[in-house]
Symmetry: C2
Subunit: 396 residues, 2 copies
């Protein structure tokens, strides 16, 4: 019934520390790359979606979508900002999709970004924590690393996941990021260095037991951008790059407080968002060639890969042991380096996942290209799994 | 091509000062009223849209849409927050419309709200100013009242608008608000009291010349909410109230800095957003029976009514003289009392406009009912006209 939507352009800034650039500079840079990538000069954009979690709090600028439309010379396009915690990017892509599928727009620009590194770490940790339950969690000093630590401990106890499994995920994602010029961290890490060796305790100090420094993603500045277009309009425009369509989208919520979940081991919102996306796409997890998952902490890559349906619950760490999720494995996860090593400029992440999948499905991913990638899945994870988006892309 | 969308429920909190309620309390109250108003028990909501400009900055809570979905027992509905400055509400309604029209959702809840009065006025003025141009305006101390003052002066000089014209708009909107139990300000004002009489200078001090206290809207706490549904699904549900459909939507941007506009007297984004909405609805301004306009300052009601196409440019003040826009006039504007007297909890305003139009089109507006209201128009105005939404509702 609704119109088919394709990704016709994508781009991103280098992720990392950008002391010399404002949030707007980053959004503009990623957007211009995505617009240029369409190959169409002065492509008409009907609406601009900006995903950012903390623009107001960190850069003292609100209504930033209008500002971006103006900076880019895209007036009088519509404009709006989507804020959905760390799932802002995924939500913006879905709302951009809906703007086109509804027939209101033909082409939209979706740009996500965050500028965070200029602010002291404790302030960032506090601001990120404002997405937890204000009474059941926040006022007790709960932070995202502390929630992830409890979740990790539960997973270790219940399923036999070990610190070595977690370290292997980090090592894989750092390894992939070495092949991604846009990644924040270009650093090879080893089991010796962060887990087994004599220096491991020093290199990798405890943050929130059992989590250590290398178990979580860095604080990153950066932006990512995609141009979405109706398939019909894209044909008219004569886009020369391979077409990648948005085959399915899903968004689901779960209890805000982690303690209120029937089974805290199950990421219900990952499950339901993924099921929606698969249903819409008419596909099954087995049909997917690669995934970009929201590994703000390694345990999330593991749990999401299970709850999205790629592995039986409680078995993904076995797949890690077997190398299934390596770039060379049968089901690569986070070829980009993931949040762990590509970095996590909060509002950019969900969009960056779609950018990576598009590059992979077009065969443009260079040294980290997944062979014969035809269908990709990504999951953007808000709060501690209380708001999750899932998106499936398919090469047409 | 796309599906028809109807408003099947609406509700709002009393607008005003709510020291005893949190932002979440306000969002929940308005949402429950809107859900109840559908008359359908446990109606299935597929996605929750929350419009708020400053939830993070003023209440230290982010990702608030997931929190609302949880509070309301609407899990696992999708959820996202839209921030678009003072146009957040209109943008959220349009994105909710698109979610349904695209076929992704059947029913969505759109709730806008702001909790502002607990914060000192200078902090509010500063935070609201974060939507101006950061370099061309904000750092020079430009605030929304100062922009409105310059715009008002220009209008007075160019078109012969007088302080009395402005006062008449304020008096009308205060008068209408006396008939609206949800309005923030229930106070009759007179030409004597605020403009002509011996006490006028004292009652109505200068804020930003030529603007005085009674020329601008108050700072308000409150929330408003609508339930949108596909027309098809609404029929299946057996909604008993008169159906009101979203006939047209439009969103457009203009230069962020007021000084960059070719003709600063013309609100280009109002013009273009309105034209889009009228085109989609297949209607003309003459077909509209009443309008809710964004009168954060009286001059905006005047200018919007012209640029939306209801009056020739530069003539709306004549219509004010003739009483055309009074509740008893031939084209009532802001029967609710508008931002001026109903109040302006920033994120709530665009949604409250849709609530008022729905009540009017259903014939439920009580003492302020516009006779034979069949089609209504509303305009939500972001920044200083750099981002505007227009929505047309029609009784089916």
């Amino acid at each position: 019934m609704s119109r088919e939507v394709v990704v016709i352009g994508c781009g991103m800034t280098k992720f990392g520390r950008h002391d010399d650039k404002s949030l707007m500079d980053l959004l503009v840079e990623a957007s211009i790359k995505a617009l240029d990538d369409t190959g169409i000069e002065n492509i008409k954009i009907d609406s601009v979606y900006v995903a950012t979690m903390l623009a107001g709090e960190l850069t003292h600028q609100t209504a930033i979508a209008s500002a971006l439309a103006d900076q880019l010379g895209l007036l009088p396009a519509g404009a709006q900002r989507i804020e959905n915690g760390p799932a802002s990017g995924g939500s913006a892509v879905i709302n951009g999709y809906q703007a086109i599928a509804s027939g209101v727009c033909d082409a939209v620009l979706v740009t996500g970004g965050e500028k965070m590194r200029h602010v002291p770490g404790d302030k960032i940790t506090d601001l990120i924590s404002t997405m937890t339950h204000p009474i059941a969690e926040y006022i007790h000093g709960v932070t995202l690393p502390s929630l992830a630590a409890m979740f990790t401990r539960l997973y270790m106890t219940h399923y036999g996941v070990t610190r070595e499994h977690l370290a292997r995920i980090a090592i894989k994602n750092h390894e992939n990021a070495l092949r991604n010029p846009y990644a924040h961290i270009h650093q090879r890490i080893t089991l010796e260095g962060i887990y087994k060796g004599p220096e491991a305790e020093v290199n990798n100090p405890v943050i929130s037991d059992p989590l250590r420094l290398y178990d979580s993603c860095p604080v990153t500045d950066g932006a990512a951008s995609v141009v979405l277009c109706s398939a019909e309009e894209a044909k008219k425009l004569g886009i020369s790059k391979p077409m990648v369509k948005i085959a399915g989208v899903g968004n689901a919520t779960d209890t805000l407080a982690l303690s209120e979940r029937k089974n805290p081991l199950v990421l219900e919102a990952v499950k339901l968002a993924s099921q929606k996306a698969f249903k819409m796409a008419g596909l099954k997890p087995q049909d997917i060639d690669l995934a970009e998952l929201h590994d703000a902490f390694e345990i999330l890559e593991l749990a999401e890969s299970e709850d999205a349906g790629f592995f039986e619950k409680g078995t993904a760490h076995k797949a890690v042991e077997e190398g299934v999720t390596l770039l060379s494995g049968s089901f690569p996860i986070n070829p980009s380096g993931g949040l762990k090593a590509r970095g996590h400029p909060v509002g950019a992440t969900g969009v960056a996942q779609v950018v990576e999948l598009t590059w992979q499905l077009r065969g443009e991913a260079g040294e980290r290209q997944v062979k014969n990638a035809k269908r990709g899945f990504c999951c953007n994870f808000g709060g501690f799994g209380n708001n999750v988006t899932a998106i499936i892309l398919e090469r047409v």
